[in-house]
Point group: C2
Chain length 456, copies 2
């Protein structure tokens, strides 16, 4: 189909939307390494994991062979409230950059949670409800996951207990009110409501918290109450599974118009957006049916892929969670208080870690001032005010488009625009006032943190 | 077409989108009364108005006969960045209410300005650019119009000078940063940068400002600099013209699926959203081709339609703007500091005023606590966190749907969901904490303000 037939924004029809999630692991020869019991160092069983997660989610977590898992009707109904998300041709950005590259972005911010997190929040809440639980607990960093989960729980009538990283509890009071409007209870972490929280407060008085620490608290609460289970917004295989809806919609839309992306770019914190966006494309690549260049973008202040090590590590600061084999900076690593709250996790999805280790994707890191420059440039021409997290992908998409300008190549670039920045205006204000600086951890800091990895 | 064929969200295809705005006045037998020169009390001429507004906008302002005015290609291109907006069937709300009514809403919040204001902002900025001006000045209340205009100006490379009502400058610092990110200069009003601002500060020290006062300041600046013109986000005929895109898209989508709305509901501050939403439906009603019940909803704290008088009045507190014949509470009326910033204007669109006066539409007023109850109820089932302004329409849509529950009538309700409430979390926080109260002006207060109307 000729280029001028392609709309600015491609919305799938309801009947074109995916009816099943795609389980990327089914096409991986080298499967991601299993989660280990932190006590026995043996792979976790269904029984063990069922103490933390809902049963059906445990099955999804461990399923390495079923390529497609049907999306339950109730979840499809909820998806229809805010999906399909648009696949947008960034005509205005292309013109601004004067690049021959064709830039597309899949925009996941058009819902009240402001990000793609809702795709997995509704799925996890649904299975909790189906299991007859009273509620769920979780942590949230920048608050996107917490907002999403509180929306999903409000819709299904489930209790929602949220531990929010203290830095963001204070920096983003409005996020807190969104969650409260949806009926969630919100606690700043570390808190004195859990054993692990009290321990961390004693060891690091004045800490602004971290995602790893908030995870420890949320897990502790859920483990102690049989009517609750813990849910998580990223890192896990089940989350990547649910987020595959992003990539599936993108691929259906691109196939419909005969568009082949040469480069696919996503920001990577725990990997939920990137893993979801690339899923069907990576599947083709693994099966040898097509080739794509795939780039993970992470902040220079928390560079798990680019400066971490591939090893078993705890997912939380309190070291009560399972061990995962992943690219990690060490569970003691505390990133500087940068402004990309969703990208502050010390580790990375085990699936993406394995794919990166096997050479199926690249990774790069970028500094936040250059990220906000890209964000502002994008906002002014494309209209959307992007989240700091998403703007990492924008930065690299612009860089790739500018390379095309030099070489004259007409590459097609697809990136994930995971969300909006309406709750990040403190960061934008710093940038607007020229007060934003960059922070790159020293080799010594990273080495010190990695030296403390558990021996497996 | 049967009910189950209607998608949750109807998005028009690009080729189905309107290519011309609809000028409702062409179908009105009783035209709205003309704007008067505040000095001579004679109808304003093209020449006089051209000192304040761009020439082509003046022509649109005064055109009472041309039913359709083509949308320039450049504006259509911009519209494609965020339009079509979805027409959503509120299945979840219907189920929650257990009503036989069918509820639809046209959602205009899916753009960074967070509201429908962008539809007219880009049009007004485009004509300013076309005329070779350096920039535009305006006022903004809740900041939606300011955000929209700064986006439009950033896109076109125009200067944007904004006077923002002081109450909202302080209550919504993040709005300010959105505007700054888009490159606008933002001044809290009343300010000492204008004569009228200094006068108001002297007379009302400590005032939190009003839209009427910010208008005076913005007009003064533009009148004194020939490279600038004044633009306005509501009230004017030209704005209703541009906003007709809301109603046109709604009507095309509803006609496509054979849906006939029995009741059409919109919030009304200056009338931009309501006038745009109802335009093509009201046109049919005026031509006797179809009938619709049309309801304007205003806050009980600023009830122009329901408790104002139909008379000539100033549009601004400083009394330097043209006189308009409209439903007004008097330009000296200062509404209480309620939380629907977009609905604090003392007057109303002249077009809507005439239509209301002639009995073609109804009006009702609602109190803010009941508005936030509706907002929360809507958010929890429909996902979207609505703006306080939009929630006025939600309140009445829910009330109408509940009436249908009593009577068993299967009415079809359409309401305008003008925007999102991400920048209104201070208000939501008050509501969440049970600290929100209602304020209804006394008959004496309104009578005192109306007594000061100019004699025309």
């Amino acid at each position: 189909m000729s280029d001028n037939k392609i709309p600015y924004k491609i919305y799938l029809e309801e009947e074109e939307m995916p009816k099943a999630w795609y389980n990327l692991r089914a096409d991986m020869k080298n499967k991601p390494a299993p989660l280990l019991n932190p006590g026995t160092l043996q792979p976790l069983t269904v029984e063990e994991l069922s103490g933390i997660f809902c049963r059906e989610l445990v099955e999804q977590e461990l399923d390495e062979t079923t390529p497609f898992i049907p999306i339950p009707d109730e979840i499809l109904s909820f998806y229809r409230m805010y999906r399909p998300s648009p696949l947008v041709r960034a005509y205005c950005l292309e013109e601004k950059l004067q690049t021959p590259a064709k830039i597309y972005y899949k925009f996941e911010g058009n819902n009240t949670s402001g990000s793609h997190k809702l795709n997995s929040a509704i799925a996890q809440a649904y299975y909790a409800k189906k299991q007859g639980l009273k509620g769920v607990t979780t942590e949230t960093g920048a608050g996107q996951w917490g907002s999403a989960l509180s929306m999903a729980c409000a819709y299904l009538g489930l209790d929602c207990k949220l531990y929010i990283v203290k830095l963001y509890y204070e920096q983003k009071p409005f996020r807190r009110e969104v969650m409260r409007t949806y009926g969630a209870s919100v606690v700043p972490s570390p808190s004195d409501t859990t054993e692990v929280g009290r321990k961390i407060l004693a060891e690091h008085p004045g800490t602004t918290g971290s995602l790893g620490c908030a995870i420890s608290e949320a897990v502790e609460v859920s483990v102690k109450d049989p009517d609750y289970r813990y849910v998580l917004g990223s890192v896990l295989n089940q989350v990547l599974l649910h987020q595959s809806v992003i990539g599936l919609e993108s691929k259906i839309a691109m196939d419909k118009y005969g568009i082949h992306p040469d480069v696919i770019i996503g920001c990577a914190g725990g990997g939920s957006n990137l893993g979801g966006l690339i899923a069907p494309f990576m599947g083709e690549k693994l099966r040898g049916e097509a080739d794509y260049r795939i780039i993970a973008v992470e902040p220079a202040s928390c560079p798990s892929f680019t400066r971490g090590t591939y090893a078993y590590d705890f997912c939380d600061t309190g070291k009560i969670c399972p061990l995962a084999k992943m690219y990690t900076l060490g569970s003691d690593f505390i990133p500087s208080p940068n402004h990309a709250g969703g990208l502050r996790f010390h580790g990375m999805s085990t699936t993406l870690s394995q794919l990166y280790h096997d050479g199926f994707m690249e990774a790069t890191s970028v500094e936040q001032t250059s990220v906000f420059e890209a964000a502002e440039q994008f906002a002014r021409v494309e209209g959307i005010l992007p989240a700091p997290e998403s703007s990492h992908a924008i930065r690299v998409a612009i860089d790739e488009a500018l390379k095309c300008k030099e070489t004259g190549e007409e590459k097609t670039i697809l990136f994930g625009l995971t969300g909006t920045g309406y709750f990040d205006m403190v960061a934008y204000e710093k940038f607007n006032n020229g007060e934003m600086s960059d922070y790159i951890p020293s080799d010594e800091d990273i080495a010190a943190s990695i030296a403390k990895l558990p021996t497996v």
